[in-house]
C-alpha cells in the first residue's frame, strides 16, 4: 500500500502563503499557529535533529491537538491514542514536509484525518455489536459542570456549550472546532480536510443555529 501523502498539494502554495500572512495578523486569541515554535522546529530539522523538532511541535501543539481529538471523539483513551499517532506520523514525515503550508495546517490535517478514521471505525464496530452504553445527551457534562462552589455564569455557559457540541455529528463538530478552536481559515480547513471551502462554510453556518438553539433551550441567554 502506498504511503499516504500527508503534505498539502503544490497548488495550495498561494493559499499557504496567504494564510501564513493572515495568521500573523490574526488576534492571537484565535490563531493557534506558533510561528516561533515552527521556526525552531524547522531549524532543528535542518540541523538534523528530528527529535528536537518534534519536541518543539509537541510543546506548541500537543495539548491543542489532544483537546481537539477529545472533543471530536469523546473518549480519553482514544483521543490520547490518536494524539500519539498524529505526532508519530509528524515525526516520520517531517523530513518530507515541503513547507508549502504552515506546520500547524499540516498537523491539523493529520489530526482531522486520524480522528475521522477512528470515529468511522468505532461507528462501524458499534453497528456490528450490541452497544453497552447508549448515548445520553440529557445528562449534564460532569467533567465540565461547575462544582457546588463554582457558580460562575460563564462556567455554566461553557458546560452547556460542551454538551451542545456533542449533539453535532463528529465531522460537523470537527469542522466547528477547526474553525473556532484551532483558528483555521476556511481555505486552510479546505486544505486540511480535503473539502471545498464553500462546503465547509455551509456546514458551519448550519451548525451555529443548532448550537444557539441548544444553548437557549439549556437556559443560556446569548
Amino acid at each position: 500500500m502506498a504511503r499516504e501523502s500527508s503534505e498539502p498539494a503544490a497548488h495550495t502554495r498561494d493559499v499557504a502563503a496567504a494564510t501564513l500572512a493572515e495568521a500573523t495578523q490574526r488576534p492571537t486569541k484565535r490563531s493557534q499557529i506558533d510561528i516561533e515554535a515552527e521556526a525552531r522546529a524547522l531549524a532543528a530539522l535542518d540541523a538534523g535533529d528530528r527529535r528536537a523538532a518534534l519536541g518543539a511541535l509537541l510543546d506548541a501543539y500537543g495539548v491543542v491537538i489532544y483537546s481537539y481529538c477529545l472533543r471530536v471523539l469523546r473518549d480519553e483513551t482514544l483521543a490520547q491514542d490518536v494524539q500519539q499517532v498524529v505526532f508519530l506520523e509528524v515525526h516520520r514525515d517531517l523530513p518530507a514536509f515541503r513547507r508549502e503550508s504552515s506546520v500547524w495546517t499540516w498537523i491539523s490535517r493529520i489530526a482531522h484525518n486520524r480522528c475521522m478514521d477512528a470515529a468511522t471505525r468505532r461507528r462501524r464496530e458499534q453497528q456490528r455489536s450490541v452497544p453497552i452504553d447508549g448515548e445520553d445527551d440529557a445528562v449534564l457534562p460532569a467533567s465540565q459542570t461547575p462544582g457546588p462552589d463554582h457558580t460562575s455564569e460563564r462556567a455554566r455557559w461553557m458546560a452547556a456549550l460542551e454538551r451542545c457540541l456533542q449533539r453535532l455529528s463528529e465531522p460537523v463538530r470537527a469542522t466547528v472546532l477547526m474553525k473556532y478552536q484551532q483558528g483555521l481559515t476556511f481555505d486552510e480547513m479546505a486544505v486540511a480536510v480535503g473539502e471545498r471551502s464553500g462546503t465547509l462554510q455551509v456546514r458551519v453556518s448550519r451548525a451555529l443555529p443548532i448550537l444557539r438553539q441548544c444553548l437557549e433551550r439549556a437556559g443560556v441567554s446569548l
Binding site: T77, L78, D133, S143, M158
Partner: protein
C-alpha cells in the same frame, strides 16, 4: 476513499434548517463569504457571543507524561529504522489477547506487515483492546467468560484506563456460561449492585450464555471493586470477605474480571 487515503465519512451535515434557523444560516454564510448582510442587532450579538464562547473553550490536558510517551515512541521508531506508526483503531489479529476496554497491556504482538514491523506499546494496546472488545461482541469466538467495561462521564466522554470520578457511570458487560453473579462492592463492606437482581442490571440469554449488563452511577465516594462469582452462591451480605468465602464454600468460583478498582472521590 478521499485523496488522503483515509476512509470516506458519512459527513452528516446538519439537516436543512427550519425557517428561522435558515435565515440565520443564510446570514452567517453570507458573512463567512465576506459580505456584510443586515441582521437584527440582537441576533448578530447572539452569534458573536456564541462564537466567542467557542473560541474560549478551554484546552483539555492529556494525561501526565504524554509528551515523554510520544518522544519515547518516536525514539523507538527511529531506532527501529523508520517504523510506521500504527493507526488508532487498527484491527489486530484474532489471536491477540483481548483485554477489557480501558485496560492497557504492556505489549501486544502485532503481525508483520509488508512494510515492516509495527510498533507495539501501551497506547496501541489500548486502541487494540477497544477494537478487540467489539470484535468479541460481534460474535466471533465467544469465550465462556467475557467481560468488558467502560467508565463514562456525564457528557459521554469515556474515561481513560483506571480512572473514575464522582457521578461517572461504570458500565460492565459480563457473559457467563453458567449460573453466576456480577457484583460491585464499595469499600469492601457495601454491596452496591449485583447482576442479576438489581434494577441497574439487565440480563438476557445470549445463545448458551447469559449476558449481564450493569450501569452503575458512582454517586458516592469510595473504593469500588467488581467481582465475578461463577456458580451458585448464597445471597451476599455486603462484606466482601464473608461473601466470597461463603461462595467458595458453596462450590462457586471467584473470577477476576480484570477490571481495576476505582477510587472515587
Amino acid at each position: 476513499m478521499t485523496r488522503d487515503g483515509h476512509e470516506p465519512d458519512d459527513v452528516q451535515d446538519p439537516p436543512a434548517p427550519r425557517e428561522a434557523e435558515a435565515d440565520d444560516a443564510a446570514w452567517l454564510l453570507a458573512r463567512m463569504r465576506g459580505e456584510s448582510p443586515a441582521k437584527e442587532p440582537s441576533t448578530a450579538a447572539a452569534y458573536a457571543h456564541l462564537e466567542g464562547l467557542l473560541v474560549d473553550l478551554p484546552s483539555m490536558a492529556p494525561p501526565k507524561g504524554w509528551k515523554e510517551d510520544i518522544l519515547r515512541r518516536a525514539d523507538e521508531a527511529a531506532s527501529s529504522g523508520g517504523v510506521e506508526p500504527v493507526r488508532a483503531g487498527a484491527i489486530v489479529p484474532a489471536e491477540t489477547p483481548v483485554a477489557p476496554v480501558g485496560a492497557r497491556a504492556d505489549v501486544i504482538p502485532l503481525r508483520r506487515r509488508h512494510r515492516g514491523w509495527l510498533i507495539a506499546g501501551p497506547t496501541v494496546a489500548a486502541a487494540a483492546a477497544t477494537i478487540g472488545f467489539f470484535v468479541m461482541r460481534a460474535g466471533t469466538v465467544a469465550p465462556a467468560l467475557g467481560v468488558s467495561y467502560v467508565v463514562a462521564a456525564g457528557d459521554g466522554i469515556t474515561r481513560g484506563s483506571g480512572s473514575a470520578k464522582l457521578h461517572d457511570h461504570l458500565r460492565v458487560t459480563a457473559r457467563l456460561a453458567d449460573a453466576g453473579a456480577l457484583r460491585v462492592y464499595r469499600d469492601d463492606r457495601v454491596l452496591v449492585a449485583e447482576c442479576p437482581r438489581d434494577p441497574v442490571c439487565t440480563s438476557r440469554p445470549t445463545g448458551k450464555l447469559t449476558t449481564h449488563e450493569l450501569d452503575l452511577a458512582l454517586d458516592a465516594p469510595g473504593r469500588y471493586q467488581v467481582v465475578l462469582v461463577v456458580g451458585d452462591a448464597p445471597a451476599a451480605t455486603g462484606r466482601i470477605g464473608d461473601d466470597l468465602a461463603a461462595a467458595r464454600a458453596a462450590g462457586a468460583t471467584i473470577r477476576d474480571p480484570k477490571i481495576p478498582t476505582f477510587i472515587v472521590r
